[in-house]
Amino acid sequence: MKRSVGEILGRTGIRITLILWSIAVLYPIIWMFIGSFKSNAEIYANPWGFPESFNFQNFATAWSNYNIDTSVFNSFIVTIVGALLTLVLAIPTAYAIERIKFRGSNLLFMLYVSAMMIPMVLGWIPLFFLLADLNLLDNIFGLAIVYAVSQLPFSIFVLTSFMSTIPKSLEESAAMDGMSPYGVLLKIITPLSMSGIITVTIMNAIQFWNEYFMALIFLQSKDNYTLALAIDFISSEAQYTNAWGTLFASLVIAIVPVIILYAIFQQRISKGMAEGAIKG
């Protein structure tokens, strides 16, 4: 194929744009890592350059002086409990909607799916008082329950589409052998939809780990802060204390688990998110 000069120029232009955007994405992230190793004096003198030496003082300060250790622990609890609870609630419903014929199953599915489009911010005011009445306000388990229910529509939606690909014959023969429907759900369907379950769980976990606004509303005492709140607190403090290094260190602590998950499950995450958005 012959190529005109214009085409080659066009291709070079596209390449340059791609490279520039990669830099725009990567540079702030890399620089955040670099900043976490710099002293405050260095950040002021040379905010965008490399550190003279790597020191971990910022991490130590964030960890011990700003309660990041408690917040990391809280975030892990909220993430794990929330993700597990979502599965416990979503798998049986997804199975029933996808495989069992009953009146109103379509309506129920539509109800769950349409909840994905509703702005939940209106519900947060009553939810605040509901949690207070249930003694779950300022409680990380209360937050985990709220998180789990908030991701139910998405999880049911993705799981039903995964389960629809499992051949029916497997369930039928298991039932022939006298297995109860509970057994079929637990021993046949759950293992066979593991790929979907993993996708949903990773996406929910990232969502819960990152979540900020519900935590801001539903948690109050510093001992219950999740990482997002702790970082937000350090950030507002940094306006006065100028402890930028500590702030960067806490940002790094927050982002490293996400980077690890992304490194392992990159394709699953990007495919899951794109497909979830398209079908929704």
Binding site: P92, L108, L216, L251, S270
Partner: protein
């Protein structure tokens, strides 16, 4: 399957009822009671809850900040849709049509900000906009454009536009992938046919790619609109808190301030009802305008 009707319904109940009860308590009930609260004047304690009819709604209409928050939300919607769709489409076409070796690298990098926490994105960009240390002002000084430097987030005119860039930065990857999925489904024979007819790459884009990925474009635009109207307040809260002087308040951040900072829970709920109605109307209107018969060649 050999099982009695009763067993079947027992199993159905086991599968559906616990989940639905949780969903009803933590999603349906709050939404409906939010609607109910909007008719009360209420500062949080039960003694002070007073039925006031429509007066919260009258207050809403006469509140001078409300129209500004709506305009700010739509400003973000429009700039984000334009910015994200143009760049995402450009990258999607570049990565699928040009057979670039490093395409997977770009795909992985461009998508990553989509899974970063809004808090991390917001704080990172607050520092990028920092008047004295930030990358933007340093860059402008480096280029000799000192007169262009300003305290971006502290400037009433520039704070809101400054929020667009982080949102585009963080959003592009997902929509790029959605469009790439659409382009990958377009049969190569259309491009070959177009090439034989003498269409250049630009014409191929307009006549083949764009009409055939229209479903993905439509979904992407709708998705950006919905997530912006329902969630733009998060980045606002992290980066400016609605300031300076209310110049960046969007509907959701104003709700937060009214309800959870100033304890006007009834009025906050009224703002919530407004958000619900506005976003539903917007989605319906958009769906009407973007309906277009599926193109098949």
């Amino acid at each position: 399957m050999v099982q009695s009707k009763k067993q079947k319904y027992m199993f159905l109940a086991f599968c559906l009822i616990p989940t639905f009860i949780m969903f009803a308590i933590f999603t349906l009930y709050p939404l409906f009671s939010g609607l109910y609260y909007s008719f009360f004047d209420w500062s949080g304690s039960s003694q002070n809850k007073e039925f006031v009819g429509l007066s919260n709604y009258i207050k809403l209409i006469s509140d001078e900040i409300i129209p500004r928050t709506i305009i700010h939300d739509y400003f973000l919607v429009v700039t984000k849709v334009i910015g994200i769709m143009i760049l995402a489409m450009f990258f999607a076409v570049a990565l699928t049509q040009l057979r670039i070796k490093e395409a997977p690298f770009y795909r992985i990098v461009f998508f990553f900000p989509n899974i970063m926490s809004v808090v991390v994105i917001g704080i990172l960009w607050t520092f990028i906009y920092n008047p004295s240390l930030g990358l933007i002002n340093s860059g402008l000084e480096f280029l000799g454009l000192e007169s262009w430097t300003r305290p971006w987030l502290g400037d009433e005119n520039w704070a809101l536009p400054s929020l667009v860039l982080p949102s585009i930065w963080a959003g592009i990857g997902l929509f790029m992938l959605m469009l790439m999925g659409g382009i990958a489904n377009v049969s190569k024979s259309y491009y070959e046919a177009a090439e034989i007819d003498g269409a250049n790459e630009w014409q191929q884009f307009w006549k083949v790619t764009l009409p055939l990925v229209w479903p993905q474009i439509k979904i992407s635009v709708l998705y950006i609109v919905i997530t912006t109207l329902n969630g733009s307040f998060i980045i606002v809260q992290v980066m400016t808190g609605g300031g300076p002087n209310n110049s960046t308040h969007v509907m959701g951040s104003y709700l937060y301030q009214q309800a959870f900072v100033q304890y006007n829970f009834g009025y906050g709920a009224t703002i919530g009802v407004m958000i619900l109605i506005i976003s539903l109307i917007t989605v319906l209107v958009l769906q009407f305008f973007m309906r277009r018969d599926k193109v098949e060649y």
